[in-house]
Subunit: 337 residues, 4 copies
């Protein structure tokens, strides 16, 4: 029996973690903290969890987390780095779902997150939790930085052709469309129904904090610098990310060769499905899958790759549980089908 | 040329008023005040009005409103009663789009609006601005209380059969579905996209402030007490109200006789359309129409009446402009087709 | 191991059945037939089932169904009664998810379904599959008529106060709002995105085939005639039904007494949750729960009851699996949490 | 008074044309044909036009179109080329809203529209109706090919920097998101509410018929070949196109210089608004505007340009009326504010 806790459990990611973990008989969710909701029952805040989660939101300072095998940190970026150092002394393993431990460079952190990193000593210890890339390192880690939702949707389709040298390492274009839950459970005017419904807007063009995450993971995997232009768009759906990638081919390639490459690359990855058709978001709704499809465009010498994930599952809570499985020696798909 | 102003113009009703008035060549919108947005250009807050409204949000205390022919007050209920008394000395006519002057009873106001009325002297002067009921009184008024969105959608279908004695005066059931813009431009968690999308919830069941408005107007029109049970529901659309009414027939009636009654009752009402089919919200989107349809159910001796309006137009800004037209001696449909 | 099959599996109800059954280790889904899709792989039609259902759509005439323990029939009403008689000789138990075996009166069937019933001999054998009402009869049945989605949402909140004599048996008003999946997987213009989005429409007012189902079940449970007026509305969500019920109280009752009644009535019903707040659709999304709340309105002497279900789960596939569990001697909640 | 007619008026583009034209006092809409709906009143098919359009759908063969000043053809591509040659003898000017006369090359037409062009003689006569590019030629034309919705959204942001040589002519990436009305009023399963809602899908990647339209107009304007990769996506909104463009800078440029270029280029274009913020679809909903914003990304040496239009207005009916205004000597914005 794995004992687990969640810090910052009152947001959508926390709810999704509770939903996934509550279904398992081999995991015991012992504690869920939430600053603003402390003292309220979980099912009062989330009626859908009535009957599934019998907990009251606790406080980080309380003893509820002490000694747990795994603690998920679902705090906003900037908050996690204040909490994780102390937490590591109290629990076995920490999986941080925010951005604080994803970048190896404190300078990049400062530039994109607009604040100074205050736990730089832990940056090197943290393993980037993309199981399809780092499985063995995750298995040995006690601190995992769970990837961002956009990076997950961009890295999985880009890694095979980039590492194989099939596409150029610069000039990559990534346009992503995200459901609104990606912005968290928030009460801003911008995320109110009337402002989002029947509309679309791009945001943080050229400045999004997921840019250095994407570029540094790709560069690390390729062993040389990769640059990519990334534009996120907010669209009126609750869940899901659609990512469309354009990259220039280094030399002509056949469709069959590419399918072969992708199929081999992800032969042992239970949550990546290489599709022979254009992916759509509905196919991965509430699942931990990333579906990938592609089109070769000889006219422009481009490879167009398209991917879909559920931002709250493969883009957050599901991937975190996948990491927990790996860290605790379980098959990575346990409880995620 | 009618000179006009808007107090509290930064909400959705204010925007809709600006949109409607800016199209007219016989109206000059001179001033739009907005406490929180004072000093900002209107088209910075509402990019869709770029090129149409060349104004900067002003302050209520400034001289911009002085001497205007008509001022629309689009403040939240409770705010208008603080402002309207002073405003009447400065301008020709006031049309209040909130709830402060709709109820003739200060006691009912206290009970349903949960506060004391502070301008009771004006309650008797205010004319309830439902043109299809009160046209001549509106023409003579200098203070009009523009009806609520739900009451507009319920009163228009109920007045003919009730005043004709075809349905019983008690046991009336009104179930309404409203788009989210009815809640105003707000940043509450409850109105955030993810909380509203793919969901429905009823609210203020039995306690909504439009209950006494509906009952008192119906009672006044019938000359004896009418009671109705009203349940509003929030649904994931931006604009529109769908109202379904159930009432018991006092005696058998034919469909033909009912159509005849409705057609005659609204023969001179340019914005009420009696339909031979079930209404749908799309038909009235961004129009000042109220579409009404009905079904007789002999099995249960009930009359079922269904109506649709755009809550921001016939339910708010459009009806206010209709009232302005009547108050200033213009054909009531001017600028509203 | 229960062996199971689905006839008419290519619609949304069929997909939901496959989704629910594929998660179970104690059920083996052996056959899924679909006339138009016969020969196609299930995961080609429904990419979301890739990896979960490894079947090709078969044909009803093939041997795939022979000898199975339970067969779900998810055909349109009118088709099931042609198929079920022959099917019963081939399989152990049949659960029909359409309307053909829900009404005990062939006359009512003719009136509301607009066709002659051709398997009247089976009507008496079929047990109405509302587990909260008929659990022991379901356990003994070999043919179950799974309730309609609207009736499920109306019967569960109405049964306790009606059977207890707290509300009147006539004058009941039921207004329901349904997501579009209730209309099935169809390519009609009326269900196209642009016609449904940002709109609402009532339909089949006074003529819907669920009216006699609701009235006959309520009348049977009360032992005397119950009449109800029912208006279904189509709203722009994919899943979910919101039902608002108005009924006249026979005599005054306290809120506490009513909660007590409901709590007792459903004490052994694992999928009915009596809420102390107004229900919302999101709380039951993709679950087999029916959430019920109510408001007493002394002013109008009415009881207002509100319920929510997921129309594809408790309103169709989930309830069918609940019935399968009962018919095969399993705990009714098996595989449905 | 301009006399006007519409061929193929029962689709969404036809409805939008009727909505726009019916507001004008200087245009008399005399005839609307629709094959499948012939004989039905327009307001029976479109209740929202009740009171605005007093016409019955006619037949193309009838005399209703003879002698009209302007006829809009809103038929599917492939149908228009059968009809336009004969129509030109009967009416003064023809504006075709489909794709049949947009490409100057019959070979490109065959490749992308998958059929042979049968009116090649008219291709050279037709003027491409993008007013911001071809105003004087449109003024003299009797046959105008109204641009596609996607091309309108891509050409307006691309023309200034391409013609000025600021961006490279190859490697351009265009990712567009479109509302569902762009697919027309159709009853396909793919466009049904449940298949579109809460999902996104790309389609016709690398094969969309708007690719040669975009490339040929850009190449013509620049005087040398331009290639672009274009990926359209279907998203769950009714109206609107969001286009995100990535292009490589030929040499460094300042933001100020770019704003200056755009502002000058569109100084006389009443429907192009150059924004200092990221555009959003809501800002142009039901308007004829194209809003354009951009971001310079020095890190990747890219220019990212973003544009929004309402696909049924600037992307179809509104632009067609703009063309009609120009062809008949009126100010181009007449009736479009």
């Amino acid at each position: 029996m794995i004992t687990a806790g969640i810090v910052g459990a009152s947001g959508y990611t926390g709810r999704e973690l509770m939903r996934i973990l509550s279904r398992r008989e081999d995991v015991s969710l012992r504690c869920a903290t939430a600053h603003a909701s402390a003292g309220q029952r979980v099912d009062a805040v989330y009626p859908s969890l009535a009957g599934a989660v019998d907990l009251t939101f606790g406080d980080l300072a309380g003893p509820g987390l002490d000694g747990l095998d795994v603690v998920f940190v679902a705090l906003p970026s900037g908050e996690a780095m204040k909490v994780v150092p102390g937490l590591r002394a109290r629990v076995g393993r920490v999986i941080d779902l925010g951005g604080d431990f994803r970048l190896s460079s404190p300078e990049a952190y400062r530039q994109y997150y607009k604040r100074e990193h205050t736990a730089t000593g832990l940056i090197r210890e943290a393993v980037y939790g993309l199981p399809e890339l780092n499985k063995s390192r995750i298995a040995a880690a006690t601190l995992v930085a769970n990837p961002g939702c956009y990076p997950t949707s961009a890295l999985l389709p880009l890694l095979p052709p980039l590492m194989e040298g099939i596409i150029e390492r610069e000039g990559i274009v990534i346009d992503s469309l995200s459901g609104v839950s990606g912005a968290g459970r928030s009460s801003s005017l911008e995320m109110s129904f009337c402002e989002v419904n029947e509309s679309v807007r791009a945001y943080k063009v050229g400045t999004h904090q997921h840019i250095p995450e994407i570029e540094s993971v790709l560069s690390g995997a390729c062993g040389s610098p990769v640059t990519a232009s990334f534009v996120p768009h907010l669209i009126p759906i609750t869940r899901g990310i659609y990512t469309t990638i354009h990259a220039r081919l280094t030399s002509p390639v056949t469709e069959a060769a590419l399918y072969d490459l992708y199929d081999r690359f992800y032969a042992d990855a239970p949550f990546v499905r290489i599709k022979r058709q254009i992916p759509q978001i509905q196919s991965v709704d509430r699942t931990n899958y990333c579906d990938i499809g592609f089109v070769l465009e000889p006219r422009t010498r481009q490879l167009i790759v398209l991917s879909v994930i559920d931002n709250l599952v493969k883009g957050a809570a599901g991937q975190a549980v996948q990491n927990m499985n790996i860290m605790t020696g379980l098959p990575e798909e346990t409880g995620l089908r």
